[in-house]
């Protein structure tokens, strides 16, 4: 499996993602945002960080970079695309995933471990059990997902929510919602289900010595 990680000025989880991909034997390439060509890839990852300092709106400026045109082309051809944190924000700004990511409801940056309920009916989550509760880490200022009523209907009808914030027991409610996200959405797919945007960082949970290994299955699901 070939993967590419897009690197913008200000990306800072690019190395972490690469470590995760390499751990699962992806043949990975780092792609600089000014490049106009994208190596042939089965998976494109847009990593977390503060591309362009998160100035203007997070993800807005990265979404205008040259390489994004190539990413959009690849996406339309069905290539798998994973956007994590700032990568999710960039996907939103390009329109590849609908909706908006607003400031966290407490207006503060939030870094903590959160529980997530997995919906495994997509290629990114196949290796989880349906409804499985996993623990990943979030670290963001703007992860408060918002969309309009029609889109929300579509999301629900087509099973496009990949992850929802919950507690240890799987309870999804306001108390287990760290950032004010609509329906506790932590990760969401486009309608063709080849693009996943998620706020939590799977690449931070790939090693027991450091935390846990709950993030590994995202990468392994993509593999087969």
């Amino acid at each position: 499996m070939k993967s590419s990680v897009i690197v913008f000025p200000g990306s800072n989880c690019d190395r972490d993602i690469a470590v995760a991909l390499e751990k699962l034997q992806f043949k990975n390439k780092m792609v600089w945002h000014k490049d106009s060509e994208l190596p042939k890839s089965d998976l494109i990852v847009i990593p977390g960080g503060f591309s362009y300092g998160d100035y203007l709106r997070s993800g807005a400026i990265a979404a205008k970079s040259k390489i994004l045109n190539e990413v959009i082309k690849a996406a339309n051809k069905g290539c798998l695309i994973l956007g994590v944190c700032n990568g999710f924000q960039i996907l939103i700004e390009t329109g590849l995933i609908k909706g908006a990511l607003l400031r966290n409801k407490n207006l503060k940056f939030i870094n903590k471990d959160v529980y997530l309920k997995v919906n495994n009916t997509n290629q990114f989550c196949k290796n989880y059990k349906n409804g499985q509760i996993i623990k990943l880490n979030i670290a963001h200022n703007e992860g408060n997902y918002f969309t309009d009523k029609n889109h929300l209907m579509e999301i629900k009808e087509n099973n496009l929510i990949a992850f929802q914030y919950c507690d240890e027991k799987g309870l999804v409610n306001d108390e287990t919602n760290p950032n004010g996200s609509l329906n506790n959405i932590a990760g969401i797919l486009n309608s063709k289900k080849n693009i996943l945007g998620m706020m939590p960082h799977p690449e931070r949970m790939i090693d027991k010595i450091i935390s846990n290994e709950d993030g590994l299955n995202i990468f392994s699901s993509i593999l087969n």
């Binding site: 503060f50 503060k108 940056f109 870094n111 880490n137 010595i209």
Partner: protein
């Protein structure tokens, strides 16, 4: 322009110092030259009051590669890996503009570390605010925390440890100390010493604006009613640009282009250029017309004194200009050759083809004033007998401490910091020390910052010693071997004999502990003039320590692991209450002496804990510090959700002295039943004092006849203070 007394004073120079400048120059300086002298001769850059005393600190052990004197200290952790670290204060700017002050403090200390070739891997901070009821406290706290997080999060370096304290002494002068830790190849370390003639001097990074002009002088000036006027000098940080600068510098460092490199910190272009020339015994000639400027019509004076952030000065090998420029172009950063090294031993500045300054380098460095300031010993206040102590209410006391800002859970703060970016954080904030893995290796470093202002105020000597020991204990408690420290010495006005005495005695204390524990000082920073209108802050030395974990499986923390394990206290409990949290916050008494530290016990107890961890005898470890045994136990319970059942002390000791006493060199350990006999055997063989005080249990935190509440409840109480803070903060 004629230099009047008023101008001299406004530059923070004394008349005598001005006379010395004239002697050294053999003429009157012009305004630009005066500005340069004022920047170089002020306390912040020249260390004129502290130098003679700092020399006493031990700076070497077998791990030290570079001690004080460079941008940061360097230690060897084996396999060609080096750790580079330093702490620095940004107190005054943070009081004036908490967000930007704290943010630029983080940015500045990061540059000190990556300018030496290290990739920063961890950030720490020690922040001190005024008392809860002071109306500025919460806004300052909020601004400082967002600023620290804002910078570290954006640049993508985890903020993993720190300390936050509240004390009336900081009402008008908060402390913001930031520490950065980086990792480098020990054969690829970069220094600031210039070498060779006619080498190009290159300016890289952000453009120069009018930020922080006179910042360095401000950092060394006492606050007064007019300090509001000094506000426009606050710099604004741009962590995004710093991230680019970091990557560009590290990339350039991979080939052999750099002769010397130095960040532009306090006093910007002035101090960086003088430092490089001075260390290399060379001269520099700079053409200020070439300096990249942000604003129009900037004067040479402004350029030399600007403290715009995210800039570096590099001396390149000849012929490497093109390839170096390519790298900075890639990262969209300015790259400009602004001068060359010369043999003149002078700093010569040109502007519009005219020489605008011509100063011997030595006049700015070696000939800068050094003061043997007068000092007097701190009067020690004897411990008074505490009569009414038996009448206290144990339960109320503990609950009051758990809900006080100083001992509240600091999650509200640490959740605003990205602690996990870079993927190597094994232990995060909330532990005795944070543990960061060396990327893709089977070893890690432990890092912690500590201070105890009340102890240091009561006895600077004992306090100085204690704080080094506390730091050592914290590093040991997570399974590391302590290696070396950095220190930030926050003091009042050194022209005051008492304050100078505090400084001198603190250094004596630090020195004694560091020597005994083989725990040298490799870098640091001094911040004087912390205070307002003659009211000085308590002496507040902050120690930042680094330890080495050789085997990742030995990393341990203070969270109880299971129910039914034995709880032991290692080290002897005498019940010292003076200067303790209990006396301060419950009895409202603030006199007497802090607990003495017996260095021999400290070392022995520390080494035995290392051995217990190494033998896998212990399930959790926590050092006993402020708040005594009971607070340490509560922390172990609250962090794990596991309760304890603690017996009353069997001897005749008073229950308050026993549980709240702050005797030093103690640890609490959790041990499985089957490991108890082996553990006790080892302790006895080594003559280590120990006592079993109880067991872990489900749900409840209980002390025989005194206290019985669910862990859940005390955890909630421990979080209330910060939970209620949002509503009152200025956005």
């Amino acid at each position: 322009m004629k230099i009047s007394n008023k101008i001299i004073e406004r530059h923070g120079l004394k008349i005598d110092e001005y006379k010395k400048i004239k002697l050294l120059l053999e003429r009157e300086p012009n305004l630009l030259e005066l500005g340069i002298f004022s920047a170089m001769w002020n306390e912040h850059c020249s260390y004129k009051s502290s130098k003679v005393h700092l020399k006493k600190l031990p700076t070497k052990n077998k791990y030290v590669i570079q001690g004080p004197g460079e941008n940061a200290g360097v230690i060897d952790i084996g396999d060609d890996d080096a750790i580079i670290f330093k702490i620095e204060s940004h107190n005054h700017p943070s009081f004036i503009e908490p967000y930007q002050g704290a943010a630029t403090g983080v940015g500045g200390i990061l540059r000190d570390v990556f300018t030496m070739g290290a990739r920063p891997i961890a950030l720490l901070n020690s922040i001190h605010f005024g008392e809860e009821k002071n109306k500025k406290t919460k806004n300052l706290l909020n601004g400082v925390v967002s600023g620290i997080g804002g910078y570290g999060n954006c640049i993508g370096i985890p903020t993993v440890a720190g300390e936050t304290k509240f004390n009336e002494t900081y009402n008008e002068n908060i402390l913001v100390n930031a520490m950065a830790v980086g990792h480098a190849n020990k054969n690829k370390i970069f220094y600031s010493k210039a070498k060779g003639l006619n080498k190009p001097v290159v300016y890289v990074g952000s453009k120069t604006g009018r930020d922080g002009i006179h910042g360095a002088s401000m950092a060394s000036a006492e606050f007064d009613e007019n300090s509001e006027d000094k506000k426009p000098t606050v710099q604004v940080g741009d962590p995004f640009t710093e991230k680019l600068l970091l990557e560009a510098c590290l990339q350039l460092m991979k080939d052999n282009s750099i002769i010397s490199i130095q960040d532009m910190g306090a006093a910007g272009l002035t101090s960086s250029s003088v430092e490089m020339a001075h260390k290399g015994s060379l001269g520099l000639e700079l053409d200020l017309s070439k300096v990249p400027c942000r604003e129009e019509n900037m004067t040479p004076y402004e350029m030399m004194l600007s403290e715009s952030q995210e800039r570096m000065l590099i001396i390149l090998e000849e012929g490497k200009e093109e390839s170096a420029k390519k790298i900075f172009d890639k990262w969209d950063l300015d790259f400009k050759i602004i001068g060359k090294t010369t043999s003149s031993n002078k700093l010569i500045l040109k502007y519009d083809n005219k020489t605008v300054a011509d100063i011997p380098i030595n006049a700015l460095s070696t000939d800068a004033p050094i003061y043997q300031r007068k000092w007097e010993k701190t009067k020690l206040v004897k411990n008074k007998k505490l009569n009414n102590i038996k009448k206290g209410n144990f339960k109320e006391s503990l609950l009051k401490i758990l809900t006080s800002p100083n001992h509240s859970n600091k999650k509200w703060i640490t959740q605003q910091y990205d602690q996990m970016v870079m993927g190597d954080t094994i232990l995060r904030s909330g532990s005795d020390a944070a543990v960061i893995k060396i990327h893709q290796k089977n070893k890690a470093i432990a890092v912690s910052v500590d201070s105890s202002a009340n102890y240091c105020n009561a006895s600077p000597q004992v306090g100085g010693k204690q704080i080094v020991c506390e730091n050592w204990r914290n590093l040991i408690s997570v399974g590391s071997r302590p290696i070396a420290i950095t220190n930030c010495l926050n003091f009042g006005n050194p022209e005051n004999k008492k304050i100078m005495g505090q400084f001198v005695e603190t250094i004596d204390g630090i020195k004694e502990a560091c020597e005994y524990l083989d725990f040298p000082v490799v870098s640091g920073n001094v911040s004087f003039y912390n205070g307002t209108n003659k009211k000085n802050i308590f002496p507040t030395p902050v120690i930042g320590g680094v330890g080495l974990v050789q085997n990742l499986n030995k990393v341990i923390d203070h969270r109880f692991k299971d129910i039914g394990n034995e709880i032991l206290v290692i080290g002897k409990t005498f019940g010292h209450l003076h200067q303790s949290v209990y006396m301060n916050e419950i009895l409202g008494i603030n006199d007497g002496l802090p607990p003495e530290v017996n260095l021999k016990n400290e070392k022995n107890n520390g080494q035995i804990i290392m051995q217990l961890i190494d033998n896998n005898f212990v399930r959790s470890v926590h050092d006993v510090s402020a708040g005594g045994i009971i607070l340490s136990l509560a922390e172990m319970s609250m962090s794990s959700g596991i309760g304890v059942k603690i017996a009353r002390p069997n001897k005749l000791s008073n229950i308050f002295e026993y549980f709240f006493g702050e005797d030093q060199s103690r640890y609490i350990v959790e041990i499985k039943k089957e490991k108890i006999s082996a553990t006790i055997k080892l302790l006895d063989e080594n003559n280590i004092f120990h006592e079993t005080i109880g067991q872990t249990q489900a749900n409840n935190f209980s002390v025989e006849k005194e206290f019985d509440e669910s862990v859940d409840k005390i955890y909630k109480l421990n979080n209330t203070w910060f939970k209620n803070i949002n509503a009152t903060i200025k956005k």
